[in-house]
Subunit: 258 residues, 2 copies
Amino acid sequence: MTSQKMIVEIQEWLKEAAAFIRVSLANKVTVSQKSNRTDLVTNIDEETQTFLIKKINKYYPNDSILAEEKGFDTIESLDGRVWIIDPIDGTMNFVMEQENFCIMIAVYENGVGKLGFIYDVMKDELYWGGKDLGVFVNDQKLQQPKDRALSDGLIGMNAYMYGKNIYAAGEIGHASMGIRVSGCAGIELIAMLKGNHIGYISNLSPWDYAAGLVLIEEFGFKYSDIEGKPLTFSKREYFLAASPTAYTQIQNDFVHKS
Amino acid sequence: MTSQKMIVEIQEWLKEAAAFIRVSLANKVTVSQKSNRTDLVTNIDEETQTFLIKKINKYYPNDSILAEEKGFDTIESLDGRVWIIDPIDGTMNFVMEQENFCIMIAVYENGVGKLGFIYDVMKDELYWGGKDLGVFVNDQKLQQPKDRALSDGLIGMNAYMYGKNIYAAGEIGHASMGIRVSGCAGIELIAMLKGNHIGYISNLSPWDYAAGLVLIEEFGFKYSDIEGKPLTFSKREYFLAASPTAYTQIQNDFVHKS
């Protein structure tokens, strides 16, 4: 069960975490490499995650947590209530740009997305909503974007997949009105919620998409792994989300074109 | 000769044009194709250009004008004082996103950039400055970004050049910390001025880079066509701008690598 009380709590935690991040940016950020030279983590990622986990443990001690950093990055099952957290989505942007990064929190129950929060910290724009609740930016309710065809919209892309034409991503990009590369899954999913982009193709871990899925599903977008199979929430996967019309076109005319 | 009076006038024109654009976005925007289905122009591009040209003709009747739309897109020479205008840079974003576009104005004298203005309309951020004047965002003076190597920064790219590895753009991207694609030259040049990105590679017309060059030169960035030759201001050209270190690396290790 989720509740209005839980929504308000999460919003308060996010505001507090964002205030901490904004102050931290003015001080020293310690950057480390994870799997390779462009896979970064900072002390702020870790401290933000610790802050959020402490809150969840205090208020919802029986819940499970899946989160990007420090040993929380796998989970046995999605049974019960599960919190899925990316403390800083777009760490490269956080380090290089000091903007264009998000905090993301999702609440799932038995594998079903109930609440999603994507917070663009430096713009102070919190996109949030839930199953049958609608989608909001801060206090303002958003309108569901129109369903548009691939040829009628911009699409967010992972640059590598586009450049190497992985799963025809290059061809999909050329069939669209153009690709955009922001370096942050949260920013790309926000662009879909606003109606700016018709879709997003990338290579993502569950904390990159969990919150966004709740929101884009509420707005009627389709999503899956790039081959059309359900996302597993258990590993990095090639990810596709798009307007219903563009999703079908991408599946039939590109990914599964024989 | 440019003057403080001219700077204030241009800032006033830009504010007036931006107010017109913001109102127009709420009303009907008429979109037309130019050379192909992704090369768009709107009535707002044309009306904004007409507004700016009227101002220049009134206040500086002897000056020449080079501008993107409606027959102003070539100029016989850069002799004397020349205004170079892009009324809406990033028209695709303007149409699809209703944000991430700029108004750009440059003042050149005998081919030398004197003043540059890049106005991110929806963020209400005016980046401006001039030769020996410094670079400002609204009223705040910016600090010159550090010189960084290619491997230490993000780089803005034209998606097509990256995907097709034109002039080794794909390899350059892989040698950097990552590429970003915004679809707007003004946004990319702003990212360099802020120190967010170390460079930008694209295929640009003079009105796409004229204002930005004045500002990035003031901050010590290097620029040229992609082969290292001076930009001609007379046609669409492959464009390179980068921090001094990254510029030399891109020229020696990628573009002219034998």
